[in-house]
Subunit: 359 residues, 2 copies
Amino acid sequence: MTLDLSLLPDGGMPWITASGPHADIVLSSRVRLARNLSGFPFSPRAGDAERLRVLHQVREAAADTALLSRAILLRVDELTTGERHLLHERHLVSRELAELDAPTARSGSAVLVGDEAALMVNEEDHLRLQVFRSGFDIAGAWERAAQLERELGERLPLAYHHEFGFLTSCPTNVGTGLRASVLVHLPGLVLTQEIGKVLTGLQQMGLTYRGLYGEGSEVVGNFFQISNQTTLGRTEDELCDHLARVVAHVISRESEARRVLSRDAGYIIEDKLWRAYGTLRYARSLGADEAMNLLSGVRLAVGMYLIGGLSVYTLNKLLVFSQAAHLSLAEGRPLTEIEANLARARYVRGVLAVEAGEA
Amino acid sequence: MTLDLSLLPDGGMPWITASGPHADIVLSSRVRLARNLSGFPFSPRAGDAERLRVLHQVREAAADTALLSRAILLRVDELTTGERHLLHERHLVSRELAELDAPTARSGSAVLVGDEAALMVNEEDHLRLQVFRSGFDIAGAWERAAQLERELGERLPLAYHHEFGFLTSCPTNVGTGLRASVLVHLPGLVLTQEIGKVLTGLQQMGLTYRGLYGEGSEVVGNFFQISNQTTLGRTEDELCDHLARVVAHVISRESEARRVLSRDAGYIIEDKLWRAYGTLRYARSLGADEAMNLLSGVRLAVGMYLIGGLSVYTLNKLLVFSQAAHLSLAEGRPLTEIEANLARARYVRGVLAVEAGEA
C-alpha cells in the first residue's frame, strides 16, 4: 500500500489552516472518543480474524456517516514504518500504532481519514474517533464528534455498561471515553516565567498537560497539549465546558504575558525573535528540536506583529512537514539524522523564501 | 571644525575597495614612517607654539608633494572626541590622538588625508606618514611611502643621526622609523586550531602581531595585524621583503586551512557561516565584538564561495562603518551602548538588504 497524501485535503489536517479563533495561540482543538464493539475481545487481545472482522464492520458503518462517507482508508498494517510515522506526525495515528514493530501481528489496524474527522481502528480500543478543529473551538469539535458517534452507534453494537458507561480497554478511559484537548503555544508565559504557576493551576483544576505528541512526549518549542484527566462522573458537555473555561483563562494569561514582554523587553525580545527567523532563513542544518524552538520564536513574533508577511498557516505547515518522517517521504528514502537535518534546513529555507517573495 | 568626510574618496580609506591581491585574506598593506624635524623638541615635550610651527612647516612641505598636494587637513585638536574616534576607526589617526582628553593641550595635532597617503602631525613624532594599499601589496605601499618621504625630506630638516639613523621620540622606532604591516583575516587557521603555531612562528621570524586596531587592541573577528618588530639594523627594503615573504607563507597556510575545512567539515562550516549571515540580516541589536565576529564568518563564507552576490568591498565597509563613532556621527548624536547596538543592527541590515537586492 502506498500512502497517497494528495488525496487528503490539507493532508488530513483540517486544523492546519489557522482559520479558527485565537489561532495564533491555539493550534488546534481536538475531541477524541474511545469506543468498543460488544461481542469482540478488546483489540490488544483479539486475534487476527477478529480484528479484521472489527475493521470490516467499522468500515461499513463509517461509509454511512456524514463525516466519514468519503473518508480514505489507510491500512496501517500495510504501511512502512516511515509512512506510519508520518501519520503520527500528523496526529492521525497514535504513537502506539506508529511504533508497531511487527505489522502482521496487528492485522486490521487502520485509520479512516475524512475532511473533518479521523477514525483509528484496532488501536488500544476498537474505535478511536477524533475531530480536529482549527484554533480554540472545543465546542465545535465536540459537536461533530458527538454527531459521528451517534451515527456510528446506530450502526454498531457499542459496548456500554449502565453503571460505568462506555467500556474501554484501559480503565482510565471508561465512562465517556472522551478526551478533549487543545494544543496551545505559550512562549509568553515561558519567557515571563509564569508557566509553572499556570501548569500547577491546570492540574488543580483536574486537567493535565503534555508535549506536542501527547502522552510521554516532551514539551518542545513551548507547545503544550492541555486535556481533561478524568472521563468518568461528568457528562461530555461538562468536561468540554470545563476545559474550554480553563483554556480561555490560559489564553488571556498568555496574551497578557505577551503585552508585558512588549512593554518591558521590547527590543530584546524583538532581537531574539528576529534572530530565530534569520537562522531559519539561512541555516544549512537544523535539528528537530532546534527547528521547533526557532519556529516557536517566529510564531510568537508573528503573533506580536513583529514579523509581518508570514502566515500562521505557513508556520503550522512548517511545524508538521519539517519532521523526520515527512522529510524522508519527500526525499523518497530513509534519512540518517545528519541527512534529515540538512533536508529540514533546505525545506524550511525554501518555504520561508517563497513566503518572503524571494523564490 | 566639522568633519566633512564626503571630501575624502572612500572616506580616506583607499584600501577598502578590496581591489588588491589576495583581498579576501589580506584587508590592507600599510607602510608607516616616523620622522621628526631637527631644531624642535619631540612633540610630547614641545610647547603649543612649537607644535603649531611644526604643523605650519609640514603643511607647506606637503603641499609640494605628489601624494599630498590635494590632501585635506584635519585639525585633530579642533575635532570632537566622536570625530577623532571616527578617524581612529578608519586607521587615520592613532589611538593616542583619538583618546586626547584635553585637545587644547595638544594644539597643532593634525592629520593630512590624501587619496593614497595620510600624514599625522604632532603625534608621538612630528611626522607619521602612512600609505595604505588594498590587499597584499607591501612593495606598493613602501614604494609610495618612500617617494613621499623623499619629497618631504627635500623640503624639511629631518632629524637624522649618522649612526642611529632617523631619530624618533620612542627608541623602538629609531633607525628606519619604518613599520610595515598587513591586516590579515585568518579564520581558517583559527578554526583548524593551527593559529597558535603560526603566531609563534611569526615571533620567531622577528615579526609581531596585534588586533585590528594595533598596539594594545585585542584580536576580534580573527583579524590580525602582522608587522615588523625591529626598525634598526636592516634596510627598509629588507624589512619589507622579509615581512612580505612571511605573510605570503601565512596566506598559503590560511588558504590550505580553508581547503581542509571545506573537505572535512563541509556542511558544518557552511551551516555556521550561513547562520552568521542570517543573524546579521535580521538581528535587531548587535554588539561591536559580535558584529565583528559575524562579519568575520560571512567574510570567510564569501572567500570560500559559499555565499555569493556579496562583495568583499561591502564587507570592508561594514567593518569600518558599523563601529561606534561612525554610528554616532551617522545618527548625529552621541549614542549609549544600547543605542549603538540598535543602530549597528539597523545599519548592517540595511546594507545587506541592498546587497541582496531587497531594498
